[in-house]
């Protein structure tokens, strides 16, 4: 593989791997919720104690709105997952993923003074797994890996051509 913007091909490969792995996680989170008849975002939203907690509670209070939010969440997770794995519209998928994870983080932040009754499987101080995944997506936003390996290569053209001109 060629070098693009001074990035070695193995470095691109690692970034593609990161994208695919995060995509897999999003995809399965969405599918698992889709097939779980008991799942609802209600209990998670009710835990919200920080920014927008009133807004989250209002969502839960309205059955129709809650249903829409549940489906938006499931649909969003699946769409982002598909996009990241296939390398299809990677940048919009990353941005959508960042926004979704930001909402999850805001609802249950690992900030001192905010205690969640949700059992945590680890120990977190400010940084939790949502924030780590979010940051990884921020990194991926700046590297158009879809044009290296992914359907974006067909849509936007290979990055190699554009990069090679800079060499």
């Amino acid at each position: 593989m060629v070098k693009s913007k001074g990035i070695a091909s193995w470095q691109w490969a690692a970034l593609v791997l990161l994208r695919v792995v995060i995509g897999w996680h999003f995809l399965y989170e969405g599918i698992a919720k889709l097939f779980n008849p008991y799942w609802s975002s209600a209990s998670y939203l009710l835990e919200a104690k920080w920014l927008f907690s009133g807004f989250f509670t209002a969502i839960v209070a309205n059955q129709q709105l809650l249903k829409i939010v549940d489906y938006l969440n499931i649909g969003g997770l699946i769409a982002i997952g598909l996009g990241l794995v296939a390398g299809f519209l990677v940048t919009p998928a990353c941005i959508a993923g960042i926004l979704l994870l930001l909402l999850y983080y805001v609802a249950n932040p690992a900030i001192v003074g905010f205690k969640s009754s949700m059992p945590a499987e680890g120990s977190y101080l400010i940084i939790n797994k949502n924030l780590v995944e979010l940051t990884a997506l921020v990194v991926l936003c700046f590297f158009p890996t879809g044009r290296i390996a992914g359907l974006d290569r067909l849509i936007f053209g290979p990055l190699k051509a554009k990069a090679s001109k800079e060499e």
Partner: protein
């Protein structure tokens, strides 16, 4: 540099791509798609594994995860006959029962509307407005406290008809309950007075041929229970005791589970009450306007010993044995009836009770910490009840069998016992995982509604406030009143008829008698006596 860049760009755009390059691009473009193959394969494998285990389990249990429990017939159809209702006693519970029949004071609607604005999860008003039309008119009201009687009269004029509030003629107030019972304008009566009046009023209602919805505890003493039992048995009236959890879907499912023998031999049932608030310990608010001028104290005392006017005894009557039976008649009665509904236990052979006034030293004579053990030698089973009014630690209602244990409240969970005989093979084949319940039932899990006070939370977790029909939250007392009214129209027996009521009353009184006598007591079924 810039011109070089543009030149390079044009070069790329203009140059026809070689077939070799296109193949390479296609290869890279589709390079991550095989991941989906891996994903789908892994997902299907997991699904097959989980589903296989689930199906094996459901087959073994003879259950269907989706099928609804059998609902009481009464909640499913409605007849056209209008019933003329009377109510005796419209305190907190009486007013709630009136709402369950569709009669509501406008101030209640306003207050719930305000609360819903403050807390969007508060669905009291929404639940009320979605109640079914009971097709009743409230014609008669009796209460010995004037403001409450006035409030009930106002409620009788504001009726919920098919989701709409309408104004109607309203009820007449009767100063004495006997006049209400003798009224030709009354077909059926709700009795929600203190316990010491239950037997006398219900007996008079039976004599006047009025159908009766009687609040628990059915009577204050065992002797009264025997008298009422015989009177109702020899009468055509329809009698329902106010154990609304008879309508609880999780309880109906629990009964199915026990009938299928999924728990194995049950030898111990533990049921509890934990509350930790003044309201939960019956220190109800005293209205400022309450005085001897607007309370008919003599009529309140009725069969109880004579005493000078005492506003505390009037409003907090549950704290004295003269008017109630404390934890026994108030909360053990619900717990026992829930167990009786699920196991069909009947009256125990022996009872031992203990406890004391350990926290609320406000002059009461009923215990605030109370425990009772009931023995059923024929069933080879013990029922334990344990209660405190000074700790909010939630303890469940648990049925312990050799093969599994089951916890039942508003939800239901069955967990296999690791030492079970029945599930031994399933444990070995890892169809059952020790960390997960065998079966759980969570009605309404997709919606969350607020439960505002500590007492309300207690009642909700015990399955005494709400149930779910078609995924919608319903006031369980509304279903219980509705069942009684349907039974009146159709001439059949409701779920908490006099036999169940008699079992409830005697069991509670055995516990009270044991506590008061300081020794074990026994039920003599031939003589119908506690000895």
């Amino acid at each position: 540099m810039a011109s070089e860049k543009i030149e390079a760009k044009e070069k790329v755009a203009a140059a026809p791509q070689s077939p070799k390059l296109r193949r390479r691009d296609l290869l890279l473009a589709f390079s991550t798609l095989p991941v989906f193959g891996g994903f789908i394969a892994a997902w299907l494998k997991k699904r097959k594994f989980d589903e296989g285990k689930r199906q094996a389990l459901l087959k073994e249990l003879g259950l269907s995860a989706e099928a609804p429990a059998i609902l009481p017939e009464g909640t499913l159809r409605r007849s056209s006959q209008t019933i003329r209702l009377g109510i005796i006693g419209v305190g907190g519970r009486g007013e709630h029962l009136l709402r369950c029949a569709g009669f509501v004071h406008p101030r209640w609607i306003e207050s719930r509307r305000r609360e819903a604005k403050l807390n969007r999860l508060n669905k009291d008003l929404e639940i009320f407005l979605s109640q079914q039309d009971t097709n009743c008119v409230l014609t008669a009201v009796c209460d010995v406290f004037d403001p409450r009687a006035e409030r009930a009269l106002e409620a009788s004029r504001h009726v919920l008809r098919n989701g709409q509030m309408v104004e109607e003629r309203g009820a007449k107030r009767f100063r004495h309950y006997q006049d209400l019972l003798n009224s030709s304008e009354v077909d059926a009566v709700i009795i929600a007075t203190p316990d010491h009046w239950h037997a006398a009023m219900a007996l008079d209602a039976v004599a006047a041929k009025k159908h009766v919805y009687l609040e628990k505890c059915m009577t204050r003493t065992a002797e009264e229970a025997v008298k009422l039992y015989e009177a109702v048995k020899n009468s055509p009236i329809i009698f329902q005791l106010g154990h609304q959890q008879r309508q609880q879907e999780s309880h109906l499912r629990a009964r199915q589970i026990v009938e299928r023998g999924l728990l194995g031999k049950i030898t111990l049932v533990e049921t509890t009450t934990n509350r930790n608030s003044p309201d939960g310990a019956w220190q109800y608010e005293i209205p400022e306007e309450a005085s001897p001028e607007n309370i008919d104290w003599e009529q309140f005392l009725g069969p109880a010993p004579r005493r000078p006017f005492d506003v505390y005894r009037f409003f907090r009557w549950r704290c004295w044995f003269d008017y109630g039976t404390g934890l026994s008649g108030d909360l053990l009665s619900h717990e026992y009836d829930a167990v009786n509904q699920i196991l069909g236990l009947g009256i125990p052979k022996y009872a031992v009770a203990s406890g004391g006034i350990y926290f609320f030293k406000d002059g009461r004579d009923v215990p605030d910490v109370f425990h009772a053990t009931f023995e059923y030698p024929d069933r080879e089973l013990t029922l334990i009840y344990s209660a405190t009014l000074a700790s909010d630690r939630n303890r469940g209602r648990i049925f312990m069998g050799h093969d599994a244990w089951m916890e039942v409240g508003e939800t239901l969970t069955v967990t296999a016992d690791p030492e079970s005989t029945r599930y031994k093979e399933m444990y070995l084949e890892e169809i059952i995982e020790p960390a997960w319940p065998l079966f759980s039932f969570r009605p309404g899990a997709k919606g969350i509604d607020a439960v505002t006070s500590a007492s309300e939370r207690y009642f909700a977790t015990r399955g005494l406030l709400y149930s779910y029909r078609a995924g919608k939250r319903v006031d369980i007392s509304h279903l219980h009143v509705l069942e009684w009214l349907d039974c009146i129209r159709e001439g059949r027996q409701p779920s908490c008829h006099i036999d169940r009521g008699f079992e409830e009353a005697i069991t509670c009184h055995m516990a009270t008698e044991s506590y008061l006598r300081g020794r074990r007591v026994e039920w003599n079924p031939e003589e119908k006596k506690i000895i």
